[in-house]
Symmetry: C2
Subunit: 216 residues, 2 copies
DNA sequence: GAGTGGTCTAGACCACAAC
DNA sequence: TTGTGGTCTAGACCACTCC
């Protein structure tokens, strides 16, 4: 959680943790099993236990990584940065991040599949939490992928709505009243807000799926 | 899973299961702890462990029980049954249920909040899996609540899209091109399909939220 | 006071994958 | 062959809650 262990790092073997914390192996095992079932570590016989790469979608709701999704379907992914600006927390367009003070980076970009617009992303990044974002080149890595790789998150919240394309219609090459699926996400690390993102998809060409099983 | 234990039933105490299966208490405890963390049972000191009432929304994605949602906001809930018919599996409108043969019950109803339309529900119920549905009075219990109470489910899948109101516009009292959020759900019990439901909400007055935490 | 779940210990055997 | 995780046993103490 603290970020001291990075994705891919090996955590100590069970017998090492037994010695370190002076407890029985069953106790260590239960703790690690809980971390594994929560998806925080992956365990492999004979090799050890490793910190997993954090993923937003987790078990139930499959929130896609847009680049991954597009490339998996065999299309060429590209990102077009439309605007990039630094705002104060009191700016009206900074409101969704819900910060009382400080500066934030505002991005607006278009995800392209085979050079055709796929989704519009409007993002706010809290620069107090992620100062490195100022120097990041978001033309190479999409902002979402860059953030996932650089900043560990502990909590995320999504909101899904339907709305007309509105002022994103030109970027998506749609009619202004075309129904679109709007996915908003807030991400926190402990108590600190990291980022807010609003992604707008054409309702005809995109859906979200979620799978539940009573067990497992 | 089999339905032999109904919601609210007490399952045997740990020491009884030890005797029944001839294993150590830790083994029983791990099994019951897993069931509890999966939300299938609730455990209480001194009282025992009880089968929980199944809920569709589970931990992450909050899929609302519409009646509950409306009443929680202090509105009067009502249901209007628009159509009710029995179809063959080969009927075009039965296609979403993906059955190869048999009969199914088709329902279309409007959920009302303070007598104003809130959502349109289009539902297909597999009568081979749920014969009792023929005799149910869906004017009292909404179909979703009735099914949850009568049929245990083991798997559910959701699909969320955005679409124009279309032919539900009249029922929802909206323009035909008004963006709506469409929630589709398939529910299974083991390999058998129980029901398919498509719920259409006004995009302006409804959203779905999902919360994730890395831990817990 | 009694009985439940919550949790821990110390030791054991097994399966599997790397060497 | 070796060392890891996976899983089990038998026994123990504690906290909480109902009686």
């Amino acid at each position: 959680m603290s970020g001291a262990l990075r994705p891919g790092d090996r955590i100590p073997f069970e017998h090492e943790l037994m010695a370190e914390y002076g407890c029985a192996r069953m106790t260590v095992n239960k703790a690690l099993s809980a971390l594994a079932s929560a998806g925080l570590i992956a365990r492999q016989r004979r090799r050890g236990s490793f910190v997993t790469r954090p993923r937003i979608h987790m078990a139930a709701l499959r929130i896609p990584d847009i680049r991954e999704e597009i490339e998996k379907r065999g299309h060429v992914y590209a990102l077009r940065l439309v605007t990039r600006s630094v705002l104060g927390a009191d700016s009206p367009s900074a409101a969704p991040l819900r910060l009382s003070h400080g500066k934030l980076l505002s991005l607006r970009c278009v995800h392209l599949a085979d050079a055709r617009p796929y989704a519009v992303e409007e993002r706010l990044i809290n620069l107090a939490a992620v100062p490195d974002a100022m120097d990041a080149d978001f033309a190479i890595d999409p902002p979402g992928s860059w953030l996932l790789a650089h900043v560990p998150w502990t909590e995320a919240e999504h909101r899904i709505t339907a709305a007309p394309a509105g002022d994103t219609a030109i970027l998506l090459e749609l009619d202004t009243d075309k129904p679109c699926l709007v996915l908003e996400r807030w991400t926190w690390r402990e108590a600190e807000t990291i980022t807010y993102v609003r992604t707008i998809f054409d309702g005809d060409s995109f859906d979200l799926t979620a799978h539940f099983a009573s067990q497992g």
